[in-house]
């Protein structure tokens, strides 16, 4: 058994036929001659929060973009539901790391939701039924009071919750969260993790989280994947954080 597969443990091909699951197989991406990552195989079960960790340049963000289909890559991405009845491309919800928009832009939270969810021109109308729907959606992440706030006036944590609510409309098969490196206070992060954790249970979601906060990962993730050009280590938080390779990559800063 190669070290790379030692921690794959219970997640194997046969499992996917009984549970709903997103299968990533043989993912590889190159940039010119440079390998960004290769031979990435991941099975993500519904109701599981999988945290993707790794240093800068380990290929985390590119892997996320490859799953989104924004970066050219080889390999397959397949979604299977619990009965094996529906399969194919998963419906992906995406929470980006940063929103690189003009902070003074006159666009409210409601405007963004309406533009994403309907074809009714949002520059002319703001129908009551759309507003109710957006409000319900925002309540899921405890952000109903932000509905008329300008996007540029939101704090980092508020923006992250808003984007999470948006990614849940409609409920996706796979939720991709790219956590910001900075700009969110500790309380904001805790709240975010609590909400994500609840969502995973309530909606039986598969979640991939790119995270930089190993402390929170250790507490909330079901599975941790350490990436460094390929999957180095894959298992429960205890297993991964106890592993020598993890400790080496993160310079022993990780608690046991």
């Amino acid at each position: 058994m190669t070290p790379n597969h030692r921690h794959n443990g219970p997640c194997c091909e046969s499992d996917c036929h009984r549970l709903c699951c997103t299968k990533i197989e043989k993912f590889a991406a190159t940039f010119g001659n440079k390998n960004i990552f290769q031979d990435v195989n991941l099975h993500i079960h519904c109701g599981e929060l999988t945290a993707l960790i790794g240093t800068n340049g380990s290929g985390k963000s590119t892997l996320l973009k490859a799953i989104l289909g924004e970066v050219d890559h080889s390999g397959t991405l397949e979604y299977l539901d619990e009965k094996g009845a529906r399969s194919g491309n998963p419906l992906i919800g995406y929470v980006p790391q940063y929103l690189n928009f003009d902070l003074s832009t006159p666009t409210s939270v409601f405007d963004l939701f309406m533009a994403c969810l309907t074809r009714i021109p949002s520059w002319l109308f703001a129908p009551r039924h759309v507003r109710n729907r957006v409000m319900q959606s925002l309540e899921k992440v405890k952000a109903g009071h932000l509905i008329d706030r300008r996007l540029g006036a939101l704090s980092g944590g508020e923006l992250q919750r808003i984007m999470l609510a948006l990614a849940l409309e409609p409920i996706p098969d796979l939720l991709l969260l790219d956590e910001p490196v900075s700009g969110i206070d500790k309380n904001g992060l805790e709240l975010f993790y609590t909400i994500v954790s609840d969502l995973r249970k309530n909606y039986d979601l598969s979640i991939i989280l790119v995270s930089h906060d190993l402390d929170l990962v250790a507490r909330y993730a079901d599975r941790v994947v350490l990436l460094d050009k390929t999957i180095i280590c894959n298992g429960t938080p205890e297993e991964v954080f106890a592993d020598q390779r993890t400790r080496k990559i993160f310079g022993m800063l990780v608690g046991p």
Partner: protein, 281 residues
């Protein structure tokens, strides 16, 4: 059809500045074209595309020169065709290249203007093109007004169809892509709409200030609004108000209409700064 417009103006707006039929034509043209500048300008400013829209003016200028060089075809056909080609070219290359957007636009913009100037100055005949630098709104003809009505309807329909997607793309293009939006196609649609508006208006507004018509109303509006509906409403109102006021003032002061319109809009932008803190906090 234009006769009934003349009748309406004489009945409802019996002002001396609207006495001549060229002023009635210009008035109608202002009412048709300024709302479009107000609408499209919102996205130009939100996407920080002011430099891009500026380069479209340069592209249109080259279109004029090429039209002259080819001869035989109507200048407007050459201007619109070349502007659309130019807009698509920049948008596609911008999406493929790793160079910064500013650099790419700068390269194309200066190439276009240089080519245009070279062709126009051939044989020392540049003087007859100088009207395109300043523009002349009062020269608008009834058939051009007919065309403006068509463009007006086209742009409104386009905006009803693609605005939601453009808004999401302007906030985050990966987010838009993850929701199944074709970001490049939308960008091209918007670029083409801008190119058409700039190309047909350049003869009335002039190359030197056409970009201000797109940028100023939206710049004034964004200072005092908090959502997209207010943003559009105020931007369009500022554009139309500047257009009409500028037209009237230019009539009495005997100044270039385009420049007078832009100056009114600029004053409104300065006023909007004064109100800014009160509204958006």
């Amino acid at each position: 059809m234009l006769e009934s417009w003349y009748g309406m103006v004489d009945f409802f707006l019996p002002f001396s500045w609207l006495g001549h039929s060229f002023m009635k034509n210009a008035f109608l043209a202002v009412l048709l074209v300024t709302p479009l500048f107000g609408l499209l300008g919102t996205m130009v400013v939100s996407n920080r595309m002011a430099f891009f829209s500026d380069s479209l003016g340069h592209g249109a200028f080259t279109g004029i020169a090429i039209g002259v060089l080819l001869g035989g075809i109507k200048p407007l056909v050459a201007i619109v065709t070349f502007s659309i080609f130019f807009a698509i070219l920049i948008t596609v290359i911008k999406n493929k290249s790793r160079l910064s957007t500013d650099t790419i636009i700068g390269v194309f913009s200066s190439t276009a203007i240089a080519l245009g100037l070279m062709i126009m100055s051939r044989g020392g005949s540049f003087a007859k093109f100088s009207s395109y630098l300043i523009g002349d709104l009062l020269s608008i003809t009834p058939s051009e007004i007919g065309m403006l009505i068509g463009v007006f309807i086209g742009v409104i329909l386009l905006w009803l169809t693609i605005f939601n997607q453009l808004l999401v793309i302007s906030i985050h293009s990966s987010l838009a892509a993850s929701r199944g939006m074709n970001t490049v196609a939308m960008e091209i649609c918007f670029a083409v709409a801008l190119a058409v508006i700039v190309a047909i208006s350049i003869q009335w507004v002039g190359l030197l200030i056409i970009n201000s018509m797109l940028v100023l109303p939206a710049a004034a509006a964004r200072n005092i609004t908090v959502n997209v509906r207010q943003y559009h409403l105020v931007s369009v109102l500022v554009a139309v108000f500047s257009g009409v006021t500028g037209l009237v003032l230019s009539y009495y002061w005997n100044t270039a209409t385009g420049a007078t319109i832009v100056l009114v809009a600029a004053i409104l932008v300065f006023l909007s700064f004064a109100f800014r803190s009160r509204v958006t906090g």
